[in-house]
Amino acid sequence: MNAAVVMRLDLKGLSCPLPIVKTAKAMKTLAPGELVEVVATDPGSVPDFKAWSQATGNPLVESDAQDGVYRFVLKKKEM
């Protein structure tokens, strides 16, 4: 899975809604099917990324948390 991650965003320390905005900007630069990995420390990012993925149609393919750091892998939707 990790082989297809073409971009990593370190959004630790940023508070909502900045992680969503930065991720939305980054997604614009990806080709369909490419993956972006995001790490954030804002606990609100967990429901926000889930909802953003559903609203925009860019699948959330991985999500986990460790020691207060939340990690998400999002896939750019097919056109």
Partner: protein
């Protein structure tokens, strides 16, 4: 005792409080100078009311001199560069001001043109912008008014929601509400960053017929087609567009390389001291602290910063009491009601049910501000 030169750059709410408190507490130990580019103090929370015709622009400005203690020297000039090696600030006139302690209360600036077509949108983030929006609303006879956010972070996070409610009041008072649609585009899937407050205001938005579109981060405006497009790929048409413009730190900070890529100054979130310089502090909108950019934050930080500077001037240990992230915002919900949002680093936000009481409290604060806040009379 030696006399220290304390220099404060920026005569907004934070800088003015610091200047007055340091002059009062440090006495003969400090020569306090406040540097401001205009010499005019502007009460920015009033812009929202100017936009909807509830306040006159001329009531929002006062001569900065009248808000300062006599001992504070006011210099009206624009800072162009901070030389941290020589501990000097260079001014547009060519003069320089030296400092032992420097407080950067340089605020934020709006850059509407940073997004394509952004300059075509109205905003209420400058006095001129608010006056222009008021004129446009006066000529508005019906159609779709779109309110959106073109950059994060921005000043006064509840402002777009407040504007939507006050706009609804304005259109009802003119009896043209049935001919108008109000669309509020939000960066998240709710009205406002804070979930508890969103839950409170969303039913009221629905009740007033204000349409909420979530996950709409404005990317560009097409002023010819009259459409606004999001990073998420959606496009919405408008007749009148009101955008929160992208914000950056002051040009002085960017030119002096004292901030991050957007000009926000990195400071310790408790002591407000610059991460790289022991004799520089920053407060208010100017910092990179992940907390609301608002007058209340600048106000609370200013009292902490002043105590830090006074301790430095006196050669005493830094005060144990530091900034705890306290934020207090009013949020107008229209029809003469308002709520508040209060939180700090350790306590999640709480908002009471909207009521007339909080609306009157905000109006009272707007009126009494000039005699209490800049002087440092309110804790």
């Amino acid at each position: 005792m030696a006399t220290n030169d304390v220099l404060i750059v920026g005569g907004g709410v934070g800088g003015t409080i610091v200047a007055n408190l340091v002059a009062k507490e440090a006495g003969a130990g400090a020569r306090v100078t406040l540097l401001d580019a205009t010499g005019t103090h502007v009460y920015q929370p009033g812009f929202l009311y100017v936009a909807v015709g509830q306040e006159k622009a001329e009531n929002l400005s006062r001569d900065e001199r009248t808000l300062l203690r006599d001992e504070v020297k006011l210099v009206v000039d624009r800072a162009t560069f901070v030389n941290t090696d020589l501990k000097k600030v260079v001014l547009a006139s060519g003069r320089t001001l030296r400092y032992d302690e420097l407080v950067l209360a340089t605020g934020s600036r709006v850059v509407p043109d940073e997004i394509p077509g952004g300059g075509a949108a109205h905003n209420f983030y400058t006095l001129e912008g608010a006056v222009g929006l008021q004129r446009a609303l006066d000529q508005f006879e019906g159609g779709t008014i779109v309110i959106g956010v073109a950059g994060i972070p921005y000043k006064c996070p509840p402002a777009p929601v407040e504007f939507a409610f006050l706009l609804d009041d304005y259109l009802r008072a003119r009896h043209i509400r049935p001919k108008a649609e109000i669309k509020l585009l939000s960066p998240l899937n709710r009205a406002f960053t804070i979930e508890a407050t969103s839950k409170l205001v969303q039913p009221i938005l629905a009740e007033r017929g204000i349409e909420l579109t979530g996950f709409f981060n404005v990317e560009s405006v097409d002023p010819i087609a009259k459409t606004v497009t999001s990073l998420e790929g959606e496009t919405v048409g408008y007749d009148l567009l009101v955008l929160v413009p992208p914000h950056r730190g002051a040009k002085l900070i960017e030119d002096s390389k004292l901030g991050d890529a957007r000009g926000w100054i990195p400071v310790d979130k408790n002591t407000l001291k610059h991460c790289s310089f022991a004799d520089i502090w920053a407060i208010g909108d100017a910092t990179n602290i992940p907390i609301s950019k608002s007058g209340s934050v600048a106000h609370y930080e200013a009292t902490i910063c002043a105590a830090e500077v006074v301790a430095a001037v006196k050669g005493e240990p830094a005060p144990a009491h530091t900034y705890n992230g306290k934020v207090m915002c009013f949020l107008e919900t229209g029809q003469g009601q308002a709520t508040t949002i209060r939180f700090d680093y350790d306590h999640p936000p709480v908002s009471p049910s909207p009521s007339h009481l909080w609306h009157w409290a905000k109006l009272l604060f707007n009126k009494t501000y000039w005699h209490t806040v800049p002087q440092g009379r309110l804790p």
